[in-house]
């Protein structure tokens, strides 16, 4: 034939015998006149021409081409309906040197897998997608596809596809061409030898782009399905050229490498660094060097008052004093200025429930928390309240209540943000559950800014001083059973 190279041999990218196919191992499972056979051949030849057979991973979809792995002598991964671009994404990222092909039909790609193809294209995944569009579901017996034509009769559009019911045929190339990231998008057809040769070039080009690290490419191949169309192969091929091509214009929709903005550099860490195993605070030479005591606390207030951080500071201190500790926050949808609270348990024994319903200490950083939680404090417990005095008419007879105006003190120091540290110091001074030195050493690790660290030191001192000088022993109710 003039102008064409006639190939008499089967591409080595195909198996010699299709042993994965149970019977008739010399012939394919595709119907006579089906376009898949041609597309397979074009891909196999391109893989051979480009020397890519060993590197190739073929992702086969659900649809007639579910058994593509019967034929291709390459690495094969069969995936769920529509998800080939997702699996292909991870295969390519796991094996950057591989050549990953996502082979999909119209139901697979343009219906159930719409999200996957759009996002793989938008990420500019360096994969090659071969999208076989024959306008109908072949494997399942001729149901309507998103690419079925208006008026096309299928088993699920028995009166013909209606625009009013199913919308218009989905144009995948045009849709994906609206994205900036794809490199190459072309629609070809298998209706005659000239177009098949164009399809061959398109398939090879898509693979060449991937080989060169060029990014995402998709070739849509308009293909005949004689069996479902109830046409003989020649008529079906003609139908593609005369009807399908009219609805889905052939052509190149994208052919340029996208210019993407450079991304930030990600630091490289060793496993030890990532796990923060070497960066922890130095071990304290002798365990329990300081006096510590078991304690359960609830810390409550407004979000933004450093409620959760106060609990974490306590937990970190206890950890460094070789105690067991648990910290459990209240958590909710992301919001600011809502209420926040956390439960902290400090113990010398293994801790059971981290959920503390009857705390020995309540730190109420606002009035709402005082009202909400005061009654839950155990008999003989302690309440630290962030104010100069209790609200009018308030009482919690079972607990000792100490008013520490932590926010006021913090304001005087120059930042309301350290109210939590003022209160932490007051707690340590009042209960002696953990040594104040430990708090300083934790703050030194947590607060990197020297000016803020100094402020935190002042807050520690102010909280301690307030409890030492302003709280008169016996000035507040001290019921029986005060036990720590």
């Amino acid at each position: 034939m003039n102008g064409y190279e006639v190939i008499h041999e089967k591409s080595p990218a195909f198996y010699d015998r299709f042993e994965r196919k149970a019977e008739l191992q010399q012939q394919t499972h595709y119907c006579p006149g089906c376009g898949h056979g041609i597309v397979h051949k074009l891909i196999a030849e391109a893989l051979t021409d480009l020397g890519l057979q060993d590197r190739t991973i073929l992702v086969s979809p659900v649809g007639c081409s579910v058994f593509a792995y019967y034929y291709f002598d390459v690495g094969n991964v069969q995936v769920a309906h529509g998800r080939a671009p997702a699996a292909a994404t991870a295969l390519k990222r796991s094996c950057p040197e591989s050549i990953v092909i996502s082979y999909q039909g119209d139901g697979d790609l343009a219906a159930i897998g719409t999200a996957e193809i759009v996002h793989a294209a938008n990420r500019g995944e360096n994969i090659s997608v071969f999208f076989v569009n024959n306008s109908v579901y072949g494997m399942t017996g001729g149901q309507m596809a998103p690419t079925s034509l208006i008026g096309e009769i299928t088993t699920t559009s028995p009166w013909g596809r209606r625009a009013s019911n199913e919308g218009l045929p989905l144009h995948v190339c045009e849709l994906l061409a609206a994205l900036e990231t794809p490199t190459y998008i072309e629609r070809v057809a298998l209706n005659d030898m000239k177009n098949i040769m164009k399809a061959k070039r398109a398939v090879k080009k898509a693979l060449q782009i991937q080989k060169d690290g060029g990014g995402f490419s998709l070739v849509e191949i308009l293909s005949p399905c004689p069996t479902i169309m109830k046409m003989d192969p020649v008529v079906a091929r003609k139908w593609v050229g005369e009807t399908l091509v009219k609805a889905f214009p052939l052509g190149v929709f994208r052919d340029r490498k996208p210019e993407l903005p450079p991304g930030p550099k990600i630091p490289v860490k060793t496993v030890a660094e990532a796990l923060e195993v070497e960066e922890s605070a130095p071990e304290i030479a002798s365990p329990r060097r300081h006096h510590t005591r078991d304690l359960t606390l609830k810390i409550a207030g407004f979000g933004g008052q450093g409620i959760l951080l106060m609990g974490q500071l306590l937990a970190e201190m206890a950890l460094r004093e070789h105690m067991e500790v648990s910290w459990l926050p209240s958590y909710g949808p992301e919001m600011r200025s809502g209420s926040a609270h956390c439960h902290v348990s400090l113990s010398h024994e293994r801790i059971g429930s981290p959920l503390i319903t009857q705390p020995e200490v309540l730190i109420a950083m606002n009035e709402l928390s005082l009202h909400k939680f005061a009654a839950s404090v155990v008999s003989g417990g302690l309440i630290l309240y962030n104010h100069t005095k209790l609200p009018e008419g308030f009482s919690a007879p079972q607990a000792r209540i100490v008013c520490v105006p932590a926010s006021e003190i913090a304001d005087r120091l120059g930042s309301a943000k350290v109210a939590n540290v003022v209160m932490l110091a007051a707690l340590l001074e009042e209960t002696e559950c953990l040594p104040a030195e430990s708090a300083i050493s934790v703050l030194e690790t947590v607060v990197k800014n020297p000016r803020l660290l100094e402020l935190n030191r002042q807050a520690m001192k102010a909280g301690r001083d307030y409890v030492d000088t302003e709280i008169e022993v016996g000035a507040v109710a001290q019921p029986d059973g005060y036990s720590y």
Binding site: D54, I57, A80, R93, S98, E273, V277, P329, G352
Partner: protein
């Protein structure tokens, strides 16, 4: 060296130690922190983190990465895991290893983001189609979030099957001391993987077997693995069970509350003990039967309307009366509440 660590963070750290270098996920409260921390750590140690367009895509990315032989994971909560079920079935059917985390939230539907254990059926009994099982681990502390994640990757590779870490918002949000022993984790050779190399060119990952006898043989092969797992992989923990009259059974965060409950009950003169399944599948039935031999009553506590209690009853097979107490909606009962329930329900038996 101990560090103060959040449960969700401990999972990511465990994954990094175990050699997981691929994370594909989609955000959902209360599991987002796992994705967020993975987004930070996994690329730093040279791995891939990708936020997928949906949980459906995420699980199929897991499928892809696992096909390539990677240690790979994802994390989500109930609604996301529901979307992943198709993919989980394919992963089990194709015999691919992966680790999935379910930070269980309140359901059904959108429910809420507070802790529940209501995904027990969907995770333990398998929410997807076909004859398959997930291996399911239920950590109860931050240390276990780390340790069981490392174990999960080993089990996943050993059985070429999904392993689920089923936890909840409390264990995920909780901070506790975490002791990390740095060590080299040896990964098995995966000569079945498809890597785009000459050596792996003959390999095929698939779950389709058209011939009835071929599929049955495949299902039987999977079942043989599950039988082996039932033989070898049950894990549990006990507290004061030796002389117990009442045996409390609970997993995850509930087991922590039950530990306090046991102390409270004993302080009030009732000899209580705690049996805590660590593997929910395979369920530690043998161990439970042995422990329950001398008890007068068993009480199961769960954050659902009664799911694991069915496995407890199956294991005990009518030999001991089994009571159930459950809370839902995100309510976690305090030890005092359960103590009262134990007295109300079992005192006549003791």
């Amino acid at each position: 060296m101990r560090q103060l660590c959040k449960g969700n963070v401990a999972i990511v750290k465990g994954a990094v130690l175990a050699g997981c270098r691929a994370f594909y996920g989609y955000p959902i409260t209360p599991a987002s922190e796992i994705a967020e921390y993975a987004a930070l750590l996994i690329p730093e140690v040279g791995g891939t983190f990708l936020q997928a367009e949906s949980e459906v895509s995420a699980i199929n990315m897991v499928y892809g990465a696992s096909s390539a032989g990677m240690r790979v994971m994802s994390a989500s909560s109930g609604p996301g895991l529901s979307l992943m079920q198709e993919g989980i079935s394919y992963i089990a059917g194709s015999e691919l290893p992966c680790v999935l985390v379910d930070v269980v939230r309140g359901g059904p539907g959108l429910g809420n983001i507070a802790p529940e254990q209501s995904d027990y059926f969907s995770m333990v009994k398998g929410g997807g189609h076909g004859c398959y099982r997930n291996l399911v681990l239920a950590p109860a502390s931050v240390q276990e979030m780390f340790d069981l994640t490392v174990l999960a990757f080993d089990l996943a590779d050993r059985y070429r099957n999904p392993v689920v870490i089923m936890t909840d918002g409390f264990v995920g949000q909780m901070m506790e001391p975490l002791d990390i022993q740095l060590r080299e984790i040896e990964q098995p050779a995966k000569d079945w993987a498809v890597k785009g190399t000459a050596e792996t060119r003959k390999n095929l990952i698939t779950s389709i077997f058209l011939e009835t006898d071929v599929l049955e043989a495949h299902v039987n092969k999977l079942e043989a693995k599950y039988q082996l797992a039932q033989e070898l992989e049950t894990r549990c923990d006990e507290y004061l069970t030796e002389d117990a009259d009442v045996l409390l059974v609970g997993f995850g965060i509930v087991s922590r509350v039950l530990r306090s409950t046991v102390d409270q009950l004993r302080a009030q003169g009732l000899k209580a003990g705690l049996f805590r399944p660590i593997t929910l599948w395979p369920f530690p039935s043998r161990e439970l039967c042995k422990t329950a031999q001398h008890v007068k009553s068993v009480m199961v506590v769960e954050l659902n309307t009664g799911m694991m209690v069915q496995d407890v009853k199956l294991a005990l097979n009518g030999t001991v009366p089994v009571e159930f107490y459950g809370r839902t909606g995100g309510n976690v009962p305090a030890a005092e509440e359960i103590t009262a329930q134990v007295f109300a329900r079992t005192s006549a038996l003791v």
